[in-house]
Structure formats: C-alpha cells, structure tokens
Symmetry: C2
Subunit: 456 residues, 2 copies
C-alpha cells in the first residue's frame, strides 16, 4: 500500500491548511452567540466532502445545529461505511490558561494547538482526507456516507430525530468513528466500550436575597454551605455513590475479564506525573483503568455562588449552583439515573432551603463487540500500519449518540480513535500531534480494504 | 428642642440632594477600577464638612484610600466627640437583581434605594447634617472631629496606622458611629456588641489542568468535590464549627444575661417571612438572636470552580475556590482564629489535592459598656425623640476598626445606628427609609446636648 504513504507525503501541507481553516471557525455549540459559526462549519464540511470526491453533500437543518450529509456510492452491492463525526467544539474557558488563542491553530513541538485540534475537527477531518486519498488513487472499495453533526458536545439532542427521519439514507454496514483515543503513540488500541452520561444542574435557594453575613451569619442556612454538604454526601468515604438504586443495573464484570483488561499497558507513575498529582483517588476496590472503564462516577463540573470577585464581600448568597454529571456503565439507563438523582437530591435537601434540579443532557453507555467484522478489519488495519495488534480498551468517555445509532439505525459502531491522553481535549491548550493526524489518514484506507474483503 | 425639628423641616430637600450627590459616586473599595471614585468621595466629604461649619478639613493619604479629617473646636475644655464613618461601599453584584441602578438613588415607598443609601453614606451623612444644624442654630455644645475613611468594607487595612500616627489629632472623649441598625422604626436600640471577623480565601488544586470528566472521572480527585467535602466538614450536624480550638476563648454568657437579652422584641415568624424561608438554621441550643449576637459563625461567602456558563461542559476542573468567613465573639482573637483555620484546612486536605489558604481580612469583636456617659447620653437622646428607652443589643455584624480604636486611641465607641433589617445592606436594592435618615439627624443633637451635660 505504498500509494497511501506517497499520497499523504505529497499532500500533507494542504491537508493541514484545510484542517486549520475548519479549526478557525469557533463553532462552540453550547454558546448561543456562536450560532452563525455552526452554519459556517457545516458549510465548510459540505464543501470538504464534495471536494474530496463525494457524489453529493447536503446540509440538513434540524431543530438545533444542522447535520452535514454526503455520500459516494461506488456499487450498491458493495459494503457501506457511515462515517460519523462532529464539527462542534467545547467552550474555551478558562481562556487565560491558553498559551495561544484557541481558534488560531499553531504548531509547537510537532503538535497542533487549538480547540478542536483533536476533538473532533482533527479526528473527523482525517476521514475526509482518507476518503479523498482513496478516491484519487482509485482504491475506494466501499460505499461511503458522511454524517457530521454540530451538537455532540451538548449531547446530540437532535441527531436521534435526524436518524429516525433518514433511516434509508443512512443505511450502512458499520458506523466508523474517530472521536476517542489510543493508549500511546506506539500502542494502538480500539475503544470497545463507552460510558453513558447523566448531566444535571442544581440550584439551592436559601433566603430570598443576598444577606449580610454578619447580621445573619449563624442564624440562616447559607445555600453555598448547604450545597457543599449535599455534594459531599453524594459519595461516601469509599467514593461509592450514595444515590439509592444507583448501582442496581451496573454491569458485573467477571474476575477473568478484569484480569484480561488489566493486561493493557499502563503506568500509574506516568499517569500521576502527567497530571501532577501525588495520589489518584477513586472508588475503593478498583484500579485506575477500571474506575474509568467499567465503573460509574460522579463529578462536579462546575460550582458557583455568592461573591467570586476580587477581595472580600461579607455576604450570605441567596442561591448556590452546581453542574454535576455522572458517567454510567452498560446496563445503567441514563434516564433512570437522572430520575434517581433528581429524586434523591430533592428528598435529602433540608427544610430550610429549596432545591431545583434540571437534567441538561444524557446518553446511554455502549459496548462494541470484538467479534464483528468491523472490529477485525480495524485490528488488521492498525497491525498493517503499526506492526502491532491493537489493544481493546474500555474508555471512560461518552459518545451518547453511539448507543442511539444502534437503537434507531440498528448499526454497530467501530471506534478507531487516534487521540492521546495528552491532547487535553475539553481543556485549555487542546492539541493533536501531527503524527497522529497523518497516521490516522494512513490507517483508515487499510480499514476500508480489510472491511471490504471481510464482508465479501 | 423645637429648633431641631424646624431646621430639618426647612432643609430636608437639600439634605437629600447632597446625600444623593455622594451616593452617585461609585466608591466600591474592593474593586481597583474605582480608585478614582474613592478620591472623589473623599473630596466630597471634605467639602461637606467644611460647608457644614468645620474650622478645617483635610484629606490624609494612606497606603490605600485616603482618610477625611475635619474638626470644629468650640472650646478646648469642652468634651470632644469624634465621628467615625466610611465613604466606601460594597460591590453591587448580582447587578441583575437591582430594580434601579445602584448608583442612581431613587425614592420609592418612602425609602432611598441605592448602594450606600444606609451603609454608610446615608448614616454617616446624618452626622454632617446634624453638625451643620448645631452650628447654624448656635447649639453645638461639644468639640467635633470627623474621621471618614474609605476602606471599611475591606477591613480598614490602613486606618490603624493612620490612628497610630495621629493620636493627638484624634484625641476625643468618645467615638460616635452610625453604621449599625435598630430593632424596628419604632423600637430604638443601641448596639452594645459587635462580632469580630476572620475572612479567608481557599484554593484547592487537583490535576494540573482541566480534564475531560469522561476520560478521568472516577480516577482522579475532583477539586470541586473535594472542596465541597472540606467545607461540609467545617461544621458538624449541630452546626458546631469543627476547627480544633475554635471555641476555646468564646465569651461565656450567663443564663441571667441570656434571659435578659431574650427580652428584646423579636418575632421568629416575621423574621422567616421577611427572608422567605421555611426554617431558620443554626447552632443547636441557641436562639436566632443568640446565634448572631453571642455565638460565632462560619459562612461560605463565595464559591467557584469549573464550568459555570450556559449548558453542559464535561470537565473536571483543575482548581476550585471559596471565600469563607467566620464571625467571632468577644475574647476570640481574630489572628488566632485565622491561624487555626489555616492550619486545620491545610491539615485535613487529602493527599491527592494541594490547598492554599489566604487571609483576606479580619478584626476583633467589640463590647460597648452600658455604664459609660456616652451610653447614657445616647439613651437619653433616643428617649427624647422616640419617647422610648432604647434596647441594648448585640449585633452580629462587625466593624473591626472599633476594637482597633480602643486599642490604639484608648477611646470607647458608641454605636447609634439607624439602619433597619430591611435595608438590605450588602445586597441588591439596598435602601434607607427617609424617616430613619431624618430621625437620625434629629436624634444626634440630643446626644451632643446630653453628653456635654453628663461630662460637666
């Protein structure tokens, strides 16, 4: 497959220029002021798919941000790969921690630094370029469909309806996704599980207005103190989540499976060093990889209340807020968990405050079987490029829409991620190594080749 | 004393105009962008004191905001009253909760609505106008000195040094202060105790950058969760503060004193109704007034960390912060408490986070004796105007500089406050009833008269 390496070598500068143009569009889906940028990013993708060689590409409006769909049908009897990705990105705050502006990509130390460099502009764009490569070298062995959405980072609220309304259009043998990571640059891996998500926002109200903490302190419940207390009580001393019924449906993993998973290369020292922490912390009785791979978790994603400016203000706030999300494992139903959280949080609120709980978004966990053709094709593709069999791993992350795809479209997904743990996705200074970007473009055509052969 | 009522009646419109001009200067001491406004407010006060009839008035620079000093010496052998007040005000956020702009005073329902309307522009300005009244009606029986500072709301960091450097200038028989409240418009009271303050800011750091809560959630300590847990553990189930040694020096109040204090008029139902709370909440074993009057307290004044914007961001924040303050009672040393808090907060931080603790400001508690001449003069003054003997009350608030005055200048203070609980000081829609403003101006000359007579 020399033609792959050659094509990439000849076009690598242009690939990067094209990706940078996409990255420069600040398509933050959670912030309404970026509405126009969402359309710009969708337009950019439509053009990119067409230029890469698609027969057609269109922008489909939804109740939220539009979906870009494009396809090239080489032979109705050939297998069909549906590429899924997203053009939206996470917010950039805290902006002051970025070394260079988040939407002005810069290459440093062989990495692209920018919001979306990995998640998911960089990774999704590898598929556009691998597709172009196969078209231009006359090596495309499958029909290809692209479905690129603009709401993944806010939980894909409209993609289920889109799938439901376009089942025929989206018919495919597998959904191919690059929106996850691999263990290390030289250790390829395939993500075989994703956690589900239940994301809540809570508001605790005490007195009807901010009060002077001298005149009232000690006599009136302070909602910030109460919120802290309520959050603290959501986990016990073993970091076990205390919401009644929370663990009822958690998938039980056998000791055999756990010892199999434990074989994946992992250095706790390097992990701690990379994060600059003295100790890891998590549910008692589980390893670090188990804590993110097979066990649910609960995190405060944001907390605010009272005076947060410069200096001292002696105030008892009227309200305090938190965003709290739970990562779920297979069999845990996110809607059920959302309800359990809501009921629990309201039930254990003390009588001197009032509590509001709002579900922001959620999604089901997903397990990708290792005995399907697409898994085998991916395994062979990585082996071709890396000379190493990839390791199956359970990721702690969530791509809620993946479970929805299976429900609505009846299609399994294969998660060929090229991100690295050091990519700082969702964080300041997000980055994506150039080598990962080009290796991804190289690996994808191998997948198509093996998939077409296995499906014969 | 008909001349007092007459003078007020003839000049009430002008008094208000002059106060409004002072209020319109946004002299927020905790926000550095208001540096120029601090100078403007000081200039305004200097002019006001001179116009009211002072022999001289000057602005004294300090390491922070300047102090305005002015005096009128009628007779070196007459008693001297030193009026203390402050021209700085609290921040205005949350600004969206103000019905009218905070620095554009408006009269509604017989009240002045504005930041500083009560605390302390409205209350301090009563003294300027009462002074003018006595000068213009030839009834001033004492020497008067004014000391108006611009850093009360940030803990008067430079006023101690100013006092230390101007002991001769500030010599007086009593310090007269209107920066507290009274029980109700028809129930005059004199504040005989103020709580001390220890105001801290804490920072909890987990991983060295914000992390993706899916990839890391459950495996790495989340500083927002940890901060919540640490805050929760600062008080036990009886709302007793758990910092070792915290209560060691707390003044013990006898049952007799407690039952005497319990005679002050108070309606728990009205209190709850005014704050719109179902239950009060505080230290077990104490009444609401005891919880603010004679017991220390601990409040979160602000908390922040992670994503606090619109929508959902799945992030484990690198850092979480809180502003936490403690109100202290007589005998508790604020520097000792600050140290106890700092040591405790650091000591009980788990090994998987790092903690920084910073003292923002503090001050000692103060008790004003009821057997001194100034107390008796105030008692007689209120009785003249309200036809009721005022009730001595312990306030939950703090004016840390009052204890400093006694330490450095050796002068006791008398706290003749005309604020009401409904004035919402430090909160949105701060207000000050016109009746309180004018009654204050009327009561003050009675104080001077009785004080001069008692000191003969």
């Amino acid at each position: 497959m020399e033609h792959i390496k050659n094509y990439i070598e000849e076009n690598k500068k242009r690939f990067l220029d094209e990706l940078f143009r996409l990255i420069r569009i600040p398509s933050i889906s959670s912030e309404t002021e970026h509405k126009d940028d969402m359309l710009k990013a969708a337009e950019y993708w439509k053009d990119a798919i067409l230029k890469a060689g698609a027969d057609k590409a269109e922008i489909y409006p939804t109740d939220g941000n539009p979906v870009v769909y494009g396809e090239k049908i080489i032979d109705p009897s050939a297998p069909t790969v549906l590429v899924y990705g997203h053009y939206d990105v996470m917010p950039v705050d805290p902006i002051e921690l970025w070394k260079t502006p988040p939407f002005e990509p810069e290459i440093r130390e062989g990495k692209i630094f920018a919001r979306g460099a990995d998640d998911d502009k960089g990774q999704a764009f590898m598929h556009a370029k691998a597709f172009e490569l196969m078209v231009n070298t006359n090596t495309l062995p499958c029909n290809v469909k692209f479905m690129i959405e603009g709401e993944e980072e806010i939980g894909s609220p409209n993609l289920g309806a889109f799938c439901d309304g376009h089942k025929e259009l989206l018919k495919a043998d597998v959904i191919l996704v690059s929106d996850t990571g691999m263990i290390a640059p030289d250790i390829p891996s395939i993500t075989t599980g994703l956690r589900g998500l239940s994301y809540m926002e809570v508001e605790v109200t005490g007195p009807n207005k901010d009060l002077h903490s001298g005149l009232f302190g000690g006599a009136v419940a302070n909602p910030a103190n109460i919120l802290a207390k309520m959050i603290a009580s959501l986990m016990d001393e073993n970091n076990h989540i205390t919401i009644p019924g929370f663990y009822d449906d958690v998938e039980v993993i056998s000791d055999e499976e756990r010892s199999e998973m434990a074989k994946a290369p992992f250095s706790l020292d390097e992990y701690k060093k990379a994060l600059d922490i003295a100790e890891v912390c998590g549910e008692k009785g589980y390893s670090t990889n188990e804590r993110t791979g097979i066990r649910p978790s609960l995190d405060v994603n944001g907390i605010w209340g009272g005076y947060t400016g410069e200096g001292a203000k002696t105030v008892i706030p009227s309200k305090a807020h938190a965003k709290i999300s739970m990562r779920l494992v297979p069999n845990q139903d996110n809607e059920k968990i959302t309800k359990l959280f809501e009921d629990h949080f309201k039930a254990f609120a003390p009588s001197y405050v009032t509590v509001e709980v709002k579900a922001l978004h959620g999604g089901q966990a997903y397990v990708s079987p290792t005995n399907m053709d697409a898994y085998k094709a991916a395994e062979l593709a990585y082996t071709d490029v890396y000379n190493k069999k990839p390791v199956p791993v359970r990721s702690g992350g969530s791509i809620p829409i993946i479970a929805t795809f299976e429900d609505i479209l009846g299609i399994k997904s294969i998660l060929m991620g090229f991100g690295l743990e050091s990519d700082a996705i969702h964080s300041p200074n997000e980055n994506f190594p150039l080598a990962q970007f080009y290796n991804g473009i190289e690996t994808i055509p191998h997948f198509y080749k093996h998939f077409a052969e296995l499906m014969k």
